[in-house]
Amino acid sequence: MQATPYRSGGELVRFENVGLRYGVAPETLSDISFSILPQSFQFLTGASGTGKTTLLRLVMQALKPTRGMISLFGHDTATLDKDEFTALRRRMGIVFQDFRLLDHLTTYENVALPLKVRGRSESSFRAEVMDLLKWVGLGDLVDAKPPLLSGGEKQRASIARALVTQPELLLADEPTGNVDPALARRLLRLFVELNRSGTAILIATHDLGLMQQIDGGRRLVLADHRLHIEG
């Protein structure tokens, strides 16, 4: 599979010498500097416990760095207020490792949730949500609730929810961690298609086999609390 080649341009994400420590412990992440460009495709990889999820949480602003500068969509995050953060979060789609689907809502309602919280009426988004569900292979499970879905189906519902607002940047934390290799390949193809349609992708994974299937994807490798960029 061929991802969009990395080109320089206006950055969606920019980290400059970012460090993070919890309390008085040594830094979990040290001197992290990288950027993510529009329509780019990259893997964030490293051994378990090296801080992949932590780095993703820094990007999604679920954590604040203890030093350094993070810029999102051209805005220094240190200077943003709550409403501005909300606006930036809406330009990102997030696929959680543990899916985070709401069990009392149907697959359709879960996927439509980001549109609903933006105040859109159901009549305005029903068709596009149904199309998206078909695209991820969940067209027959629109009324099923998450407890009845398999791991792979939950993962696809989670991905559909992240994509429904057509984000400029998709962050995915181990999106293939809970699925078999065949389904992992299907999901990866889905990410590549999405990337081709213009969304920048950052996938955190420790699955080497998955990364080898993609040509042209950058690798951000975490080791010893630092980040090394390959490709």
Binding site: D83, A87, D103, E109, G119
Partner: protein, 318 residues
Amino acid sequence: MTQPDMQNPTNINRKGLRYLLRAESMVAPDPVTDRALIAVIVILTFMAALTAGLVQFASVATARWQVVLASEVTVQIRPQIGRDIEIDLKHAEDLLRNVHGVTKVRIYPREETVRLLEPWLGSASVLDSLPIPRLIAVQISNDDPPDIISLSQSLTREIPGLSIDDHRTWTRRLSRIGETLIIASFAIFALVMLAVTMAIVFATRGAMAGNRAIIEVLYFIGAEDRYIARVFQFHFFSLGLVGGLIGGSLSIIVLFFLKIIAVNSDGLRETFGLGSVNVLSGPGWSVFVVTLLVVAVVAGLAALVSRITVFKTIDKFE
């Protein structure tokens, strides 16, 4: 790709109840937790509304005692050597009837006076030989009462041995007892409301604990903090309102039956002066108003606590 407006990231929040009802479905229904919270709120609202009702009973009864005592004075004429007490009584009655502010005058017959003294002085035959003071019960207008001091002076000039007791000592004592009763009732009500507040805060926080995951999901898919807060606020306000209305209704029913028991019990009616006090009319409407206020406070508290919990949870993400 659509770019969000950084200055005005959303146009939500302004679409009324329909929008809120739709948003409310995002809160996972948890029958066990919801019912437990409603049960706690029913009990607490019942206690608070009942206390509030009893405070009103106490203040109405106290006011009633004071009105009854203040609307009557007793004229006493002691027998004087060389004077006919019956003529003095008749003369006093005539004078009193012409006084502005006097609404009713009644001379206690000698037999009635003797009966009043019998418990202390023995049989009627003994009393017949004693010079017994005679009494006149005088009803006065509460709105426009006569000046008791000048009335007393003018009557004493006309009839030697006459004195007027305006029950001031009793009124003053009862007034103090009444005030103490009302202050004590308010203090109890304040304590009950404090307990209610704390219990609802803890119960709502407990019920919110299971919703952290939903708050997190809503936050990361781009919901505004205010929007998330309103979703939960509406849910917990609804629970508070349902529990509050049930508890409040129960307290009104109990107060209504207490009132029926009180007015049908001679002893209680006399003690509390409830004969002319109706819980469901006149001052009784305040029972409904105060109960509704308690319900509103309880539902508002549940909503406020859920709102604060949402903001605290979100602050931990940021």
